[in-house]
């Protein structure tokens, strides 16, 4: 053993081992420190990345908000102008209703409606103003209103009607959503095909079915439409593609905000797309009054004294909302070749007829027998007059 102790090689080995251990320990320590540093840097980097993406996101949002608010106010102006122009056109239409200008006025009106709808669509995507307040309207009228807002409205045919009205707050959004559907339907189908609209009552409310005979949608387009109609759609005006396709995005926003459903996942029997709008019961109401709702209120006051004057006057006082007297329903004038003229005579019984004829006969008899001298007189005057004629 001692020989080993005295061996310097052993000592050298020992010293080397100690040194190595020390070196290893130091290395380990520094490696640990390095690793910790790396972790720290990684965390820092992640932090930075997060905050960067967050700021980019917020910047994007801000930019989008700015775009939205600019577009919103711009569209508000355009919508206002379109509405103003529409009322001017309405005035002109009633002013020049009798002239040939009316044809052109109707064309201008049509273009103006389309222009108004475009502005409205963009406004809806920017959470803007939807349009003026509307009164309760029948489903049929709302569908026709939508029909009037697209270019090829002549190709749209409404095949059925239901006796339901739409609550006033849903009139404008529904008309706009339907207009977008009809616009798609007419744009993606042949110009000489018809787009059919069927309105049906279903247990959940009312369905408005729009069928076109177009080319239909491929899977990709269908998926895009589904995505836009669902809640996970893009917000705002970005991501609408180029050229921008507003239709489904607008419909999606309106569905979410007003509580009706639109689905385009079935195909039409004509080969194109079948779009179904489902209106729940809380958007429906009773049919609105037909034209001139103010008339019955205004009329009764003059009707009462007239009724006292004579029975025939009481019938004649009904008037329209504009204060014009309304012609009362009566028998057709004799010009009409119609069987109704004989009806009153037929309704008389045989004994009545006999009594009338008898009275007539009695009257003539009594007249002839009672005043012979009077007959004389008349015959003499007749002679005189005939004499006069003869002379001339």
């Amino acid at each position: 053993m001692t020989q080993y102790i005295q061996n310097p090689v052993l000592w050298a080995l020992l010293a080397a081992t100690c040194g190595a251990v020390a070196v290893i320990v130091r290395q380990r320590k520094s490696a640990r420190a390095l690793r910790a540093e790396i972790e720290e840097i990684k965390a820092h980097y992640a932090d930075l990345e997060n905050s960067f993406s967050r700021s980019v996101e917020s910047e994007k949002e801000q930019a989008q908000d700015a775009t939205k608010s600019v577009l919103k106010s711009a569209m508000r102006t355009l919508q206002g102008l379109a509405a103003e122009q529409q009322s001017v056109i309405s005035g002109l239409q009633s002013k020049y209703g009798e002239s040939v200008i009316l044809q052109d006025l109707l064309e201008i009106d049509h273009t103006n409606s389309q222009f108004g709808r475009r502005a409205q669509s963009i406004a809806v995507l920017c959470d803007g103003w939807l349009g003026r307040h509307r009164d309760v309207a029948s489903v049929y009228d709302v569908v026709r209103s939508a029909q009037g807002r697209i270019r090829h409205f002549r190709r749209v045919e409404i095949l059925s009607q239901v006796d339901f009205g739409i609550t006033s707050r849903a009139v404008e959004p529904l008309a706009l959503a339907l207009a977008e559907l009809l616009d798609n339907a007419t744009s993606y189908s042949n110009p000489n095909t018809v787009v059919e609209i069927n309105i049906r009552t279903v247990p959940k409310g009312i369905c408005i079915v729009v069928d076109d005979a177009g080319v239909g949608m491929n899977d990709e387009e269908r998926a895009r439409a589904e995505r836009l109609l669902s809640t996970e759609r893009v917000s705002g005006v970005s991501g609408l593609g180029s050229p921008p396709q507003f239709g489904f995005a607008v419909i999606g926003v309106l569905c979410e905000r007003f509580g009706f459903e639109v689905s385009v996942d079935s195909s039409s029997p004509y080969g194109g797309v079948r779009a179904v709008v489902l209106l729940p019961h809380d958007l429906l109401t009773a049919m609105p009054e037909r034209q001139a709702p103010a008339a019955p209120v205004a009329v009764p006051a003059p009707a009462a004294p007239a009724g006292a004057g004579g029975p025939e006057r009481a019938v004649a006082v009904a008037s329209t909302a504009d204060g014009l007297p309304k012609r009362v329903r009566k028998r057709p004038i004799a010009i009409v070749p119609d069987g109704t003229g004989g009806a009153p005579a037929g309704s008389r019984s045989g004994s009545e007829t006999a009594a009338i004829m008898g009275a007539f006969q009695r009257g003539t008899l009594s007249g002839r027998s009672g005043r012979p001298e009077r007959t004389q007189q008349t015959s003499s005057t007749r002679d005189a007059s005939s004499e006069g004629h003869e002379v001339s």
Partner: protein, 125 residues
């Protein structure tokens, strides 16, 4: 700019006139003038339900007997031309009968009247 809501009645504007006429053109003035008389043809029961409310309204007005085009337009709120378009469309489909206005009685020649007057004066005057 905030007062657009007060621009006239909103209800009348929902359905625009060109939709009511379905984009048809104005009829010929000779076919349908202001004083052309119009009446409903046939039975009320024969009417299809597919008519628009405006068309049904016009038919109801016309069942009473002959009305002039001007009178009918007065009863509706629609512009005259729009009423004419609807009436001519209904006539084409056979729901209405139109009749040209009654001819005005021609005035007697003044010369003849004078001669008669002279004759009467010569006779009795």
């Amino acid at each position: 700019m905030t007062d657009y809501d007060e621009l006239g009645p909103g209800a009348a504007d929902l359905v625009r006139p060109y939709v009511i006429t379905k984009g048809r053109g104005l009829p010929d003035e000779k076919q349908l003038s202001l004083i052309t008389l119009v009446t409903a043809a046939g039975d009320e029961q024969q009417r299809p339900t597919s008519l628009s409310p405006e068309e049904q309204n016009l038919l109801e007005l016309c069942t009473a007997g002959y009305l002039s085009v001007a009178e009918i337009a007065g009863h509706t709120r629609l512009p005259m031309g729009v009423v004419k378009i609807l009436l001519s469309a209904l006539t084409e489909r056979g729901y209405l009968i139109t009749r040209p206005p009654v001819q005005r009685a021609p005035l007697t020649d003044r010369h003849i009247l004078e001669e008669v007057l002279d004759g009467l004066r010569a006779k009795f005057g």
